[in-house]
């Protein structure tokens, strides 16, 4: 399991690999939180998200958009997620902590999850994706 930032002129492009779809979503979720809030994040508070969508890419984009929403309105910084995917339904338990300006101000606000170039593909050891976060 891993994610990396790929060079993109205007925005943040993430490439992730994982053995399962759930793990792939979890890596992308962690990448999103790292871009916004940096690496110093802890757990403690639980939130649940349920999403249904029309395909895997939409499911991921909708899930991450919901994470952006919950994180912003509740001032929560998430560190970990337990994700279950059943067909095109996703349930996620997110673990996080209240936003701390000292530890969490080092990143870039993500304005939205872009569909441009978003593709989830199967590979020998599982799945991979490229995704662009608008910052």
């Amino acid at each position: 399991m891993s994610f990396e930032e790929i060079s993109h002129t205007a925005d943040i492009k993430i490439r992730a690999h994982a053995p399962t779809l759930e793990a792939l979503f979890s890596e992308t979720f962690k990448a999103l939180m790292q871009v916004i809030y940096g690496t110093n994040r802890a757990g403690g508070i639980l939130r649940e998200i349920r999403i249904e969508s029309s395909d895997n890419e939409s499911l991921l984009a909708d899930f991450l958009s919901e994470v952006l929403f919950v994180s912003e309105v509740e001032s929560l910084v998430f560190s970990d997620a337990c994700i279950r995917i059943d067909g095109l339904c996703l349930t996620a338990e997110l673990w996080g902590e209240p936003f701390d300006p000292v530890r969490h101000s080092g990143g870039s606000e993500v304005k939205g999850i872009s569909y441009s170039g978003l593709a989830i593909t199967s590979e020998a050891n599982g799945y991979m994706l490229d995704i662009i976060f608008d910052v």
Partner: protein
């Protein structure tokens, strides 16, 4: 220049129909030979993708700050027939009405030289960066007023003076706002963020007028050599981001419903006159108005700080102009000799209406509207004026900034925020930000040289240079 692109003028290039399948019109962009070295194939592909959308008129256009975005390229402009065309959030972006405004002051360079306390005070009073919340208590009713009346609400609420509105594109609010199309989620995000700057490339900068190119135009705009000004660059915050996210989803279904073929999901769209298209248009206008109210509130805070620190009057700091960078609007343009209403999308581009336009301040009718072009941190910003050439060739549009050439990933690897701040300080430029990464992300080297970009629009004639402003200090998210 990239293969398959034809040169049709000194700074003008055509992407022919067929560059990507389904193009209805050619693409056209403005770029100098030297700036062409930084052009990404992805940006040209996106320009060509836009040309496939139904009802596109004349050309899919891009300004010299063109770079790879999502949906439209950054710097992209396209106009659509109201009857046969579409509207797309991919032509506006997540940060609806991200824009820029310029205030002048009666202060001179020497008055603010070395005044770190000014930058510190602005950093303290204007909420910036990730997680920043407004100190203002915005009620749901006030939020509705912000979305309906934009900067006009803000002025009536005491955050400015009447004259500010005359100096805003569209008078500081779009009359087409429909708050019923704004989701509860978007409203929830909008409430705590009124008067906040945001992060990324948003900034508030103290500048000095360093060079005047057109003395008559500078005088008409109210700019003088050596004068201290303030530039504010921000948008519609989480409310606008949520409007885009919500309607992208709705329009994706609509794209299928109306049997529209698109080459990129981010170009999801619907006929302008369809219920889905109208809903996005109304919600986007509401978010644009929120952005105008937001910039007006930050203007008020800035004026209060300057007024207190330098003992100058609030009304001694007039607004030169406020322009939107990310917006879709109904505008009147002349096509094939006929005056008609079209839906112009500008995604990282600036309106540059020329002389005689009914939509610019009356006292500037003979000149054209002011065009404000921010540079990158540490480099010059510019004031230009709109032209008839822009009306004829780009649906009254010009560039919006310098345009990035280096990724944020690369910037963080190559440049230390601390070193950049130290180098800027040697030049007398004081910068405050919440993190060193924010400085490295937006360092001068990550952008095209702003003077080269504005020289292209000046030489093509889609706007003409009036003045150059140099940075003295600023705050970033």
């Amino acid at each position: 220049m990239l293969e398959g692109i034809n040169r049709i003028g000194m700074h003008e290039w055509e992407v022919p129909v067929g560059y990507v399948a389904g193009m209805r019109v050619p693409g056209r962009f403005f770029l100098s030979e030297s700036l062409g070295k930084t052009l990404e194939p992805g940006a040209v592909q996106q320009l060509a993708n836009v040309a496939t959308l139904p009802g596109i008129l004349k050309n899919s256009l891009a300004m010299p700050d063109i770079h790879w975005g999502y949906g439209f390229p950054i710097g992209g402009v396209a106009a659509f027939s109201v009857d046969e065309g579409v509207i797309s959030p991919g032509g506006v972006g997540f940060d609806i009405n991200c824009g820029v405004r310029l205030l002048t002051t009666p202060l001179l360079h020497k008055d603010v030289t070395g005044r770190r306390d000014l930058i510190d005070e602005l950093f303290r009073t204007v909420p910036t960066g990730v997680g920043a919340k407004s100190v203002l208590k915005v009620s749901p009713q006030v939020l509705e007023c912000m979305m309906v009346n934009g900067a006009q609400w803000a002025v009536k609420a005491g955050y400015g003076v009447e004259r500010d509105l005359i100096r805003c594109e569209e008078g500081g609010f779009l009359k087409t706002a429909d708050i019923r199309s704004v989701s509860a989620k978007a409203k929830q995000r909008g409430i705590p963020q009124g008067g906040t700057l945001g992060s990324g490339n948003h900034f508030l900068e103290i500048q000095v007028v360093h060079e005047i190119f057109d003395p008559d135009a500078a005088k008409a705009f109210g700019l003088a050599l050596g004068q201290v000004c303030c530039m504010i660059h921000c948008g519609s915050r989480g409310l606008g981001h949520q409007v885009c996210t919500d309607h992208l989803k709705i329009l994706e279904s609509a794209t299928k419903k109306y049997h529209i073929t698109i080459p990129d999901r981010q170009l999801a769209c619907a006929p302008i006159t369809s219920p889905e298209g109208m809903a996005y248009f109304g919600a986007m206008a509401a978010a644009a108005n929120y952005a105008w109210a937001n910039r007006q509130m930050i203007t008020h805070t800035t004026r209060q700080v300057l007024s207190k620190m330098f003992r100058i009057e609030y009304d001694q700091m007039p607004l030169i102009y406020d322009v939107a960078h990310n917006v879709a609007k109904m505008e009147e343009h002349v096509l094939d000799g006929k005056r008609m209403n079209v839906c112009v999308h500008r995604k990282g581009a600036t309106r540059a209406f020329g002389p005689g336009s009914r939509d610019i301040p009356h006292d500037l009718t003979s000149l054209g509207q002011p065009v404000i072009i921010p540079g990158s941190m540490g480099t010059s910003s510019f004031v230009l004026h709109g032209t008839q050439v822009a009306m004829d060739r780009t649906f009254g549009s010009t560039c919006h900034g310098a345009g990035r050439i280096m990724s944020r990933t690369q910037a963080k690897k190559n440049l230390s925020g601390r070193e950049i701040m130290a180098n800027l300080l040697k030049e007398g430029i004081i910068v405050r930000a919440h993190s060193e990464n924010a400085i490295a992300d937006e360092a001068p080297d990550v952008y095209k040289p702003s003077d080269e970009v504005v020289n292209v629009v000046h030489e093509v004639g889609i706007s003409r240079l009036v003045a150059r402003l140099s940075p003295l200090g600023g705050i970033k998210g």
